[in-house]
Symmetry: D2
Subunit: 358 residues, 4 copies
Amino acid sequence: MIFHGKHIQVTVFGQSHAPAIGAVIDGLPAGFRVDMPKLHDFLKRRAPGQGAYTTARKEPDIPEFLSGLTEDVTCGAPVCAVIRNRDTRSSDYAPFRDVPRPSHADWPAMVKYGEAYDIRGGGPFSGRLTAPLCIAGGIALQMLETRGILVGAYIRRIGEIEASGIPDPAEISPGDIARLLQNGFPVLNPEDKDALLAEIAGARNEQDSVGGIVECIATGLPAGIGGPFFEGLESALAAALFAIPAIKGVEFGDGFGAGRMRGSAHNDGYTVKDGKICTLTNHAGGIAGGITTGMPLILRTAFKPTPSIGKKQQSVNLRTMEPEELTIQGRHDPCIVPRAVPVVEAVTALVLLDQLTE
Amino acid sequence: MIFHGKHIQVTVFGQSHAPAIGAVIDGLPAGFRVDMPKLHDFLKRRAPGQGAYTTARKEPDIPEFLSGLTEDVTCGAPVCAVIRNRDTRSSDYAPFRDVPRPSHADWPAMVKYGEAYDIRGGGPFSGRLTAPLCIAGGIALQMLETRGILVGAYIRRIGEIEASGIPDPAEISPGDIARLLQNGFPVLNPEDKDALLAEIAGARNEQDSVGGIVECIATGLPAGIGGPFFEGLESALAAALFAIPAIKGVEFGDGFGAGRMRGSAHNDGYTVKDGKICTLTNHAGGIAGGITTGMPLILRTAFKPTPSIGKKQQSVNLRTMEPEELTIQGRHDPCIVPRAVPVVEAVTALVLLDQLTE
Amino acid sequence: MIFHGKHIQVTVFGQSHAPAIGAVIDGLPAGFRVDMPKLHDFLKRRAPGQGAYTTARKEPDIPEFLSGLTEDVTCGAPVCAVIRNRDTRSSDYAPFRDVPRPSHADWPAMVKYGEAYDIRGGGPFSGRLTAPLCIAGGIALQMLETRGILVGAYIRRIGEIEASGIPDPAEISPGDIARLLQNGFPVLNPEDKDALLAEIAGARNEQDSVGGIVECIATGLPAGIGGPFFEGLESALAAALFAIPAIKGVEFGDGFGAGRMRGSAHNDGYTVKDGKICTLTNHAGGIAGGITTGMPLILRTAFKPTPSIGKKQQSVNLRTMEPEELTIQGRHDPCIVPRAVPVVEAVTALVLLDQLTE
Amino acid sequence: MIFHGKHIQVTVFGQSHAPAIGAVIDGLPAGFRVDMPKLHDFLKRRAPGQGAYTTARKEPDIPEFLSGLTEDVTCGAPVCAVIRNRDTRSSDYAPFRDVPRPSHADWPAMVKYGEAYDIRGGGPFSGRLTAPLCIAGGIALQMLETRGILVGAYIRRIGEIEASGIPDPAEISPGDIARLLQNGFPVLNPEDKDALLAEIAGARNEQDSVGGIVECIATGLPAGIGGPFFEGLESALAAALFAIPAIKGVEFGDGFGAGRMRGSAHNDGYTVKDGKICTLTNHAGGIAGGITTGMPLILRTAFKPTPSIGKKQQSVNLRTMEPEELTIQGRHDPCIVPRAVPVVEAVTALVLLDQLTE
């Protein structure tokens, strides 16, 4: 479970119900002072137990730094951060070893790892392991910010409810991102919040879950980052983003919409602004030929609905090889999307920092 | 420009107007006899000069194998295949060094590489470099077939025209793929062909281009391939697919559609069929928790419209830093999608073979 | 600080005086029960505070496993083990920031990391970080043993005293290694022990230190592991072994001695024994063409004398850029070689397990 | 067969008797003009057919560049260079498939690759594949030279004859290297040449071969390159050097000699010279803690005697599994050492350039 960047490697470890989860972040530049309160605030955005749409599991998720920082300053050695698992109810998961939960990793993981697989809480597949990713990404976000690069994500859809996007992808100001982050709920337009929450509540009330779409933007990126074919920035970003549990689609700029378009509508003509080359439009989402154009980065990720639902589901008893109905108890998010927003920011920031370290 | 698989590495080299393009394929199992006529047939599907929708550039694209094969049998040493570039008209590209083509790599590549960048024919960013990818992938397809794994891709959309998809993603037979490949035009339903070609012709007639969507399926995959987080099969596939020029989106199973769904509709319940665990539906596209479920793999890729169009476009003269209108002459595909279909198959096959070599 | 194997990755973290040191071991097969008392015994062989030749620093060095094991059985998730640092006297190291210790990493590390470098106890360059390596390698040794592969190392030289080597490198039995490991002091011939210890005592009495040579052998390796050029087993082993602090040379089989030899003396002719191909001699040390021959692996590593000595040394004050004499206080090994023996075993085992996981 | 640097990757391909051998060099900076005559001169130093000590096989070994250069200037795309194999006598190698040559890769390679292994000329294990390495390294040498870094190697031993080394490892001037390279035979002291050649002639006259030691130095390296543990420069250099066929040992600075030394004799005290920190001595060979000290790099590599000798040898017939005597016909170097000198330079330069690209 290693993010193999060109300069930065992040080794994620832990299972949902192991003694701890954590990450080792290698390759960070030395001499950077981590703003700890800011990092804790960032981690809180992902943490459970915040509101109606999250699991009731409560985990303070305050990381302990075991190495790599001296008085919060990176010293060049790998940074290891650990979060202890406390509020675990492992017995909740005993039945799933015999009767795997649909659309969870339970069954494919048992095929891969055999009997030894640690199914409790989803083991190493748990969304809980995005917490260490957010530690790494939260530090990356701070490092990017000192270079004038801001990364922000927000909800574009939950189930049937679409939320506002960027009005003009060629015109995103750092202020747009700053405003976004000050918002209690990660949307571009605060007026969208209630309808999105209602969609989640609707799913929860029916013991169901619901999926969604998260959009992520970055401003301040220089042109020239990335490369041809397997060196492309889209490849690096997509590989990292698909590592986030529940993501089933990644697109850049107009993405799948580009499949409907004519070249004359999709091409981004060049112009000069303040003595700098830029594009008139930004259908490319800031990347052409796998390389940044200097325009804002725009990407979207699709999240499937949380597979843990209270409704009765069809499964199979692996001992008897007979069909068996399954009703999942326990504490689960009806919609992972709001908590996934900082994870998308974290992973995007990690990749950008890695590419920029060049 | 290296595909860094776990066991297989493919180093792609060449520029569109260099003496040659090619690939070195390392890590293939020894003792496999490549079916050369079959490989040539596969390469022909990607080659230009085939019909109304392709560039007039004619390249036989017959690879010469410099190493790694003895009488067409892999010997364990890296396989190097080379295709000479012949039908090049480099002078076509001289103007773009001053006035970069919108939505091409021209400008970002010049930022990255400086004056030395070989802009002729798009240099190393040219779609022409998908030919060596197809050599590697074409061999991978043959190797997978001996393991009972079939990979096939087809057009799902060109511009405004949608083409038929798989009726039931949980029920794809190897025969479906075999039939698909026998088809002269890569669609599931031959009746879709005319409308798709008309859409391309429409764009061409207006000196424009058009994008599309390619779907790829694979049958015969065992369960248990992939892993958690950065080891996920979706990450590996997406990273490789985004390396294909013009791809702007990748999704698995229901993909972005999953963002609209409830868990009760999206979850794939388990059942037993012929003594084997399988799922009742296949919204996951054959991958859950980053690991294959043993169900057919289903993925879609979005292609942007070819950026080279005959219409007048807005650019900037990099010498004068003044806006300048640009009209691209030369031979270009109005739609890359039909020729991209085997490239998607090739790249998918490469990743699958690599993961299965484990 | 990642060991990037083909299948196994070990991320080492920590500084000598950070809250902890540790390792994350990724890629181990699931379902293996770690023999914890045996692992602790192995770690004790490396631990300080054992005898006349080690530092007085006392660290129980009992690892806590944070993830990857359920009741001592690998579950497929990365194994994270942590050792808290307790007995640290950081103030000992304050002066070296201004006046770097000769032949330590102090000065080059400050050039690399700048002021932020954590110089206390040698930071991430400390020999103390071989403890997590031994956790990873100790597990690897156990896994290899179940495959019939034994790895053992022993002292061949300390300073002017040479110790016995294998009488016939073509004839090493597993019993030779078993006997070696039962020995309280890692030598092939117990009669060598006193002279070696006297050599260390001689150095200590003069407030000096002394270097040495460690030989490592492995039996039970199958033929066919490794590959040509950069895939050679010697490359993999040497890269990992040179990661051990203080190692300045690595050789296989006759090593540097082969430079004096004729081909007729060095070549290992083939014969058949018990129906198996083997070689009459083993000048190759079990590797030809980068690939195992099935004969015992034999390698040697050269350790420089511990750079921390009580004698007065010449250094420079980095503030004043004036020469300054330096006398190092504190607790240091006069000879690292005896404690380095299990580290060589650990690293060799890690590489072999990684290559064999193929 | 890929050199996986941090920034530079070199994919070597070919077998001794395949249509061609070659290399793809990825990650070189764009805009560098390769001095082709100088590169050809460098390759000539490795080429066969030069004198009494080399094989009679004649190969002009002039590379054709298929990509990555436009008028000899790197354009940022991967550089592919190919050398056609012409003067091959494959029938010479037919017998070795049944009766493997001692101390060659023949047998272990057949275990690894099976019947498909291309044994002709040693297949991908042939020393001939060091020619593409020299193309890559020859370009690296030129790039390093523009940064003021010179790399040079020379013979330190052939069989029983030792040749002169650097008088003071702390005092090596660029002029020393320049003089070395102007020398027709790679020794520091021209007076050593005759005795070394006589040693080779002695072996040849007895249809035997002889090994040797090559020393390599580099001046102009900045301090601060490398890192702790697996990031150490010694690991990177050793991994690459052991990829050279026939190398059985690698050591830095005093290397194995350090095992005999006291710390007080081995430590390199600091001093200030021309306002720069440097060391009084250079026992470390320019690397401490895995990081360059800014002092000259010094390393030595041990070459085993060429395994192909005319003398009768003991082998086994793999068909009958009976012992069989073998007499190798054909054209072989009695001593590979003189031709290996530029290979050691090439590989050292590649690693240094890669590390410095950071």
